[in-house]
Symmetry: C2
Subunit: 254 residues, 2 copies
């Protein structure tokens, strides 16, 4: 296993930000500035076309780190952020844009491309977790959560299905096609977000994927609005969800 | 309008509890012990077969009062708590128990009986709100919320449909039959709870009622589990929902 190497460190608003690489994979680890005993770790996967330090990632991280004292790690998915873009990535993104321009369904292309990315990303996430658990401020025995919507769910569902160290997960906003069979293997507590008026993913498809999880504790959050209109308060809800399961008080910005 | 009359006052855990009557209607008002400026009011309706001071009511009230500085009022529904039980109440409850014992569906009886109770209770709630808004610690202009599950939804949906002073509501766990047309008139923010494995109310029925609300902001919370297994964390979620809309910080017990 290649070692985790920190390449940069900065700090603001009570949060330490450390860039790292693990072999070819660039990542970021956000931690409480206060240091302290081993604390829970949230693995957060960015959405498609996005990257590890997108404001949606750093903004959520801030809530986990300063609200709960958790660590948050994000890595760039293959073809995203600081990763090289392959000819296959370019072709799939072009196919997606062409479908969009033609008013054709995006689902079949996104499902296929995300499944490909998940095959590459799942082993990277497991290696990242191996390496992060060697840090004394995280440790090998603390609780680990996973938080990923959209592409984050396409990668997270197959990851969580085979990764027993992950004890609670927030998923959502993806087609069921290739994920249902993996979801049936998942028994940890789940919070699942869908958009009630999603123009890309039908209600039936979202409900089918939620239904597939074998978890005895699972909660669906369906909000009015279109695909891109997931309310910001669902990030707070995710913080409360992990705080509840990992036994840390969460403060609400409400 | 008959005046609101306080009949008893006690205090514990930072919460003042005042029993009141408004004409024939007995109620309870829970308020912050600290007093202070006018604060939001949550009208909370108890479930069927239940009463105004059931632990589910006083427990939730504690969170609103000491967590957010809100007031919480509950009145006994006709045929419940300290209210007289009529021959009609007795007949309907007997019919419900008979259906239960025979393994027949409860829905048709509950829907019919709750619709009857709602006709009686809606004007009582409006008169209660009139009277409570005359108290200086509540006032006529502060935000008012409604929180009612099960029978609380059967009463709350027709109430909110005609009561413009109520600005946000938590509903859930009821059949759509007589409520859909009222729900279509409701445009305030809604949080709606359903049980994914409810043995009495089908998924389709719950989703139909949620779908009917005309609110641009509405959120469905569907939890795994049977009818009586609504998770306790949904009470916290309701607190966060009202705190978000009424601009008061909420502390989490998680």
């Amino acid at each position: 296993m290649s070692p985790l190497r920190f390449t940069n460190e900065s700090s603001s608003n009570g949060m330490i930000e450390r860039d790292f690489t693990l072999g070819d994979v660039p990542g970021v680890l956000w931690s409480p500035a206060s240091g302290g005993d081993p604390a829970p770790l949230i693995l957060m996967c960015h959405g498609g076309g996005n990257h590890k330090k997108h404001p949606a990632m750093s903004g959520r991280a801030q809530r986990f780190v300063t609200g709960c004292g958790f660590h948050v790690a994000v890595i760039d998915t293959p073809g995203h952020g600081d990763r090289p873009v392959t000819a296959h990535d370019e072709a799939e993104v072009a196919a997606l844009f062409a479908a969009r321009a033609a008013g054709e369904p995006e689902g079949p292309i996104v499902v296929r491309y995300n499944a490909h990315l998940a095959e590459l990303a799942v082993p990277e996430w497991r290696a990242t977790l191996d390496a992060l658990q060697q840090l004394p401020e995280i440790g090998a025995n603390g609780p680990v959560g996973f938080f990923g919507i959209n592409m984050g769910t396409a990668i997270g569902v197959p990851l969580v299905a085979i990764e027993p160290r992950i004890k609670a997960a927030v998923f959502g906003q993806h087609w069921p096609d290739v994920l249902v069979d993996k979801a049936k293997q998942i028994t940890i507590p789940i919070e699942f977000d869908m958009q009630w008026d999603d123009e890309h993913i039908s209600r039936e498809d979202s409900l089918q994927l939620f239904d597939a999880f074998a978890s005895t504790e699972k909660t669906l959050h369906a909000n009015s609005g279109k695909h891109k209109e997931l309310p910001r308060f669902e990030a707070d809800s995710a913080v409360h969800f992990f705080a509840r399961h990992f036994g840390r008080p969460a403060t609400s910005p409400a």
